[in-house]
Symmetry: C2
Subunit: 251 residues, 2 copies
């Protein structure tokens, strides 16, 4: 299944060059993605927030008054049960829209994993703008529809894949994800290297496993020469094809 992926849409007020939050290459503007006049209009309505790792800017259950676009960094989106069990439903990077759902309260918490910048819009102002710019609405619809596809993929992973298959799926989709970032925000690592800004605990909560199982599974994949782990936050895919077929449920 190949998706026709749109280039991530990063909304931010034009400003001077910023350091890339994911690496530390300086003098590169994350704003170069703004080229569409609709986007400039949208950006004019936004407030830019900076969120430190560990801080959340959306809390599950809060009144859903705003709408967000991630412009830099990485955030985790999760839902929690009263006893503390958590499920991370996704990691959102530059270009991601949050808070689309038409509900009176947010259905999830969004917390920064890396230093993150987000653009915040009032929901009512957004509605007005969408009325004027149907192209933007279409863009949002496409985005939401494709996220739905990813969510279904994740349900297959959570409901039916083994720990090894989950880990392989995660690494492969992370590796593919590197190519989806806005050009000026890409990591400057070799393509077969995956950077994991999140902790093992986050990975576990994303894959429906425990941290011990995540750790053991990575160790085992290394033993099978499918990956290397030079440092815990960096995984080298030594055998991408092997990982891909593992992720697909073959083997």
């Amino acid at each position: 299944m190949t998706l026709l992926r749109a280039r991530p849409l990063v909304v931010e007020k034009p400003q001077l060059a910023q350091p890339c939050a994911s690496c530390d290459a300086r003098g590169i503007s994350v704003c170069s993605a703004i080229e569409d006049p609709d986007l400039a209009r949208l950006a004019a309505l936004a407030h830019t927030l900076t969120v430190a790792p560990g801080s959340s800017f959306i809390e599950e259950g809060d009144p859903a008054e705003h709408f967000y676009n991630i412009t830099a960094g990485t955030t985790k989106l999760f839902k929690a049960l009263p006893d503390g069990r958590r499920q991370i439903t996704g990691f959102a990077g530059p270009g991601h829209f949050l808070g689309l759902a038409v509900s009176s309260t947010y259905a999830f918490t969004a917390e920064a994993v890396e230093p993150t910048r987000v653009c915040r819009f009032s929901r009512t102002k957004l509605r007005g703008l969408l009325a004027d710019f149907p192209a933007l609405e279409r863009r949002l619809l496409d985005t939401a529809a494709n996220e739905l596809v990813l969510a279904q993929e994740q349900m297959l992973l959570l409901g039916r894949k083994t720990a090894r298959e989950r880990m392989a799926s995660f690494l492969v989709s992370r590796a593919e994800g590197e190519h989806l970032r806005p050009i000026d925000c890409r990591h400057h690592a070799a393509p077969e290297t995956v950077t994991l800004p999140m902790t093992r605990s986050d990975i576990a909560d994303y894959l429906g496993l425990t941290i011990e199982t995540v750790s053991r599974t990575l160790t085992r994949l290394r033993g099978e020469k499918l990956i290397d782990i030079p440092v815990p936050s960096r995984i080298v895919l030594r055998n991408p094809a092997g990982l891909q077929s593992l992720a697909a449920g073959l083997n």
Copy 2:
């Protein structure tokens, strides 16, 4: 979390009264939900298909040329792994839109569980119509956004809930779902009775369990007087509050 749920949108060409496919009350039109002029326009573009249980009208991997709206019956949407493991990502009833995603191929299979009627649109014609009727596009966006919320809920279930909690969640959300159907398509059962048109195997594939675990879990819930099972396809919620707190991860 309370969602502001829109009334399901059922698109179908005006026609004479039809039997309700979910129950067998006759002389009730499933078309009464058409009242908006946009909808009439939309309906004029549609072809209505009748799908027998076990037949699929969307196959994973097929070119995604169409877009569908369920008008009657129930379908299951699923993804499969090459060795046959399946994950049902949702059951779609009257009002559901399928095939929104902007991809060249479908990401899932849709198969009828009950006798089902669907309206089919060409994707390109739909695009044209959406340009003329922004209200419809907004409607689709709201629908997609809310499905995303449900998908996140399901990820929490699949990744973190126990078999009992999954079963309770399923029953509770099914019971709530009864109230979401178009008025003229509601089942005429007592509110605390849930009708399950799908098999145990479908329930298992939806909850990420095996049929044996589904069966045992239901038996256990009956033993605890939380439910009754007069016939396998009908579950009476004897203690809805207890089930709800179980579903929420308390207890």
